[in-house]
Amino acid sequence: MEPTRTSSAPSARHEAYWRAQIRRILILLAVWAFVAFGLSIILAPALNAVSLGGVPLGFWMAQQGSIFAFVVLIWIYARASDRADRAFGVDETPETTSHGVEAH
């Protein structure tokens, strides 16, 4: 099936989609690294001075909080990507779902 075309070059829109995805991935990975290696390891000794309902905060981040944060990060990524797919016209229909791409 030939996809519908808009007047502006679709390739330019694809480029914009990919740049937006890269930007989103970099931002989310920065948060991931800060939560995991910053708050839960490097800053953990300092954060342990703070108590979160009886549990030292650094310890809680490392064994509970970071895991919750990872789940939320993927949720944000999946949801934002769904929206971007539609906005840039690269979302899948049953006819345009890949079942194996060959280099041709």
Binding site: E2, L28, F37, G54, A62, F68, V71, A78, T96, E102
Partner: protein, 568 residues
Amino acid sequence: MGIQEWTWVTVGLTFSAYLYIGYRSRVATTAGFYVAGQGVGSIANGAATAADWMSAASFIGMAGLIAFQGFDGSVYLMGWTGGYVLLALLLAPFLRKFGQYTVPDFVASRYDSTLARVVAAVAAIFVSFTYVAGQMKGVGVAFSRFLGVELWMGVVIGMVIVSFFSTIGGMKGITYTQVAQYAVLILAYTIPAVAIAWALFGNPIPQLALGSAVPALNQLQADLGLDPYTSPFVNTDMLNVIAITLCLMAGTAGLPHVIVRFYTARDVRSARWSAFWALLFIALLYTTAPAIAIFVKTDILRQFAENGAAGFVNLSWVQNWAQTGLIDTQAILADGTVNAILDKAVMDRDIMVLATPEIAGLPPFVVALVAAGGLAAALSTASGLLLVISSSLAHDLYGKILHPEASDERKLFVGRLMIFFAVIVAGLFGIRPPGFVAEVVAFAFGLAAASFFPIIVLGIFWKRANKYGAVTGMIVGLTFTFVMIALMKANVVLGTAEPLMDDFLGIGAQGIGVVGMLLNFALTIGISLVTPPPPEAVQDLVEQIRYPRILSDAEIEEHHHLHDPVAA
């Protein structure tokens, strides 16, 4: 009924269910056999991924390890969950768009090289065998303790079950069996945790009971003259905590049996949501594990403080486990201090989760449920790994290189044969286990992080990466990591009296994969830059996998004009 009778009931029921599901999901094509026909919805795929992922090490070994390492045990919790962020953001949707059967398929197409396929297939087999040994040992331990059969007999029973549903159902049988196994293992893991949290702290949610449990344990450790449980870097320094965490994360994202789970998703969108559901399901267990670790450590230390060494060895759960040889009561009596039970040679970490219900005095059917859960965790991971081994041998080496002309029927037959062969080898590994569960598994991560992760990420995000870089990067990363682990664990791997090396730049065996990974990245980038760029067809493939829907040839063509205005 006692523990043993109840265990026969839970194991009998769950195993029958797996066999039934496996039979219902039998397949007749290679697409069904390797990627479940690419028709699995995101929630089911997420649950299957979670079961595939959570191994005997996660279920049986992890809480015990954390209980004895305290804060430093966080490396496992963060490493084995944080890797999903890398998977979801950097790999899963793109590999689903690529959409073939195996990880070596991607490596071969992206790097336009049969050599790359061979190296990737061999690496996949190597990594998966390292990992599967621990699963089979887990099956044997659970059977020998709870059903009173010999360890080898337990392994054989596990082999028969796995070979049945994976041979006839392939990935489809494995996927739907794993969904059932997830349900069994999560119930088995959380029910005792909820019961203990309720009994000791009056709060049914283990994660929330930490508020009372943590201060109590820190106090108890202080009374016994130990460091606080929550203090960082007591057993492992900060550099190694960072290295191990990162190594487990990148390894998670590079393990072929995890990556291939995203090939089974319905479409790209579903691959992203599969990653979300998978991590949510995993997080249920992974946030419960530290609570179990704290409950069990508190119980053990309290029982020791109250009874002294002589009274402690007479407790019925200690006696039960002493019979399996996993607790050394003589050593506890000889030493007489709390340090004896904190020594892993005296009290094996692997028994902690399986012993939790007994330690807390929960009824026999809960103990039996935990046994069934441990078996579900071990079998589900083993089956996923066996499929990777089979697909590497039958699809990549036989079907793509040796006999590409073979019919689909013939290829399917070889696939079934190879999975059967892999089960036998894995079973032999399980009967002669090469070390304690979680440690063996941890090495598979280093190997995966150093071989697959860098070249797949670069393959998706950098069109310039070529086969010369990738093949060198993969071989050097894998070899470096393997040699380092062998030297640092020479006492286990090579049988020398002492390790031949303690660390490399301060990084020990568990985190060394990070150095291998950086080497791989550096070599792939460096060598690609000084050798010719990949052919245009490969660059088009990279362009194609970045977008969820299939772009037409005309659309791909336009991208060339965009980058090369002269041609326009």
